[in-house]
Symmetry: C2
Subunit: 248 residues, 2 copies
């Protein structure tokens, strides 16, 4: 655990009362005692050093004064819903790398039954996202929404969620000529990137055309055919590297 992450309601008057798995981890693995300090953060809030002020059996009390909230990640993601097992593995990685919005969408080559998987349950998802945030010492929980129709997403739902003027809209596509790194480089310091990643079988021609109509530019990650999780991590790292760190 690189950072103890608590929910906003768990921090009351600068105090955190903790039991359960996080307390157990602090006591058994990190072997904290009264006076120990651990890096801590509040979900969607600030971070700081928490100090252990009391230990009572399996319960802990810590004091925490939080500093500013980490900046919002500069990337939003449209992701054709991957196989549930792959999606399950992706959450923690997305939170580690930093993504603001994750729009999970249907597409022609997405199986409908993927939407029924337990990996889409908000509680299940939250656990894995928090795990990734704690790893990366971030507090900004990616905001995940589900979209059952790509056409509706692009024509009606997208613009209110992701401002069209915020920065480049990039469509990852096998055979794309421009490297994603080049396309995301040289932006304004406050620019954001909206990145769309297709299903394993790719976007159909109609879907591709729809993206282009809505301002997306085709980009490539290279000649190799990657599994969705590998491609997603790689594309996010390239975009983050090209954009540079978020402004505070």
């Amino acid at each position: 655990m690189n950072q103890l992450l608590v929910e906003p309601h768990e921090l009351q008057d600068g105090r955190i009362d903790l039991d359960g798995p996080r307390a157990e981890h602090l006591l058994r693995v990190l072997r904290v005692e009264v006076g120990a300090r651990v890096r801590a953060g509040v979900v969607d809030g600030g971070t700081g050093l928490a100090e252990v002020v009391a230990v009572e059996g399996a319960r802990l009390t810590l004091s925490l004064e939080t500093g500013p909230t980490p900046p919002r990640p500069r990337v939003d993601l449209i992701l054709a819903l991957p196989r549930p097992k792959v999606l399950g593995r992706l959450y923690a990685m997305l939170a580690q790398l930093g993504v603001d919005r994750v729009l999970l969408t249907h597409a022609a080559k997405v199986e409908r039954f993927y939407f029924d998987a337990h990996q889409l349950a908000p509680e299940w998802r939250r656990v894995h996202l928090l795990e990734g945030l704690a790893q990366a010492k971030d507090t900004r929980l990616p905001r995940v929404t589900e979209h059952r129709s790509l056409t509706r997403l692009l024509t009606r739902e997208l613009d209110p969620l992701v401002d069209r003027q915020a920065g480049p809209r990039l469509l990852a596509h096998p055979g794309g000529l421009r490297s994603v790194h080049a396309a995301a480089s040289g932006q304004r310091p406050d620019a954001r990137v909206l990145l769309a990643i297709g299903p394993e079988g790719g976007w159909t021609d109609d879907e591709h055309a729809l993206f282009v109509t809505h301002g997306f530019e085709e980009v490539s990650l290279g000649a190799r055919t990657l599994r969705t999780d590998t491609a997603t991590i790689g594309l996010l790292c390239l975009v983050h590297d090209a954009l540079g760190p978020a402004l505070p």
Copy 2:
């Protein structure tokens, strides 16, 4: 299955006799019949289109004329042995992204018992590497070796395996100032990169100094603390993007 991958001994006089899981996949999932063509490759050899020439129950015979062997990936990797579960997940991703040598090494913050994990058994490893190759339509099996001493690896074992003149040697390190993409850009078309990735707890000061002595330059993937698998995929994508495709 993006590519049927066969061992060299399985291709005899342009014919492949197949049973077992690969035949089952072709027959049950891809529903091939006589006359069907599937993309195929020989491990560490050429690729081509294989044609189904006979089906007998659960057995298939295909004919295959292979073209040239794909180029050798331009990246070699020194990887502090990660937790076995993480290593197990990494193999297929490494093969997807393309790595020539993978040198798994001990380091101060690597647990010795990781070396006893079943994920290090050559047969186990091979299955997962082949899965990644088939996904990426490559045939170049990453060459994995284990090194029980980082000092011995750097002082004696490394130079015979990875030519010191081949290109930059990069040490991924939290707080590194230069981006890995910048450090791997602008190389000769035949240059290679040797990338060293540390354990979750990082390299010790002594280990860091030893790398520098052996020609490594410190690079960074950014400010966030990533799990080994996320970091490894991201770093590999950045290096590949900066280097560009391998020469045939």
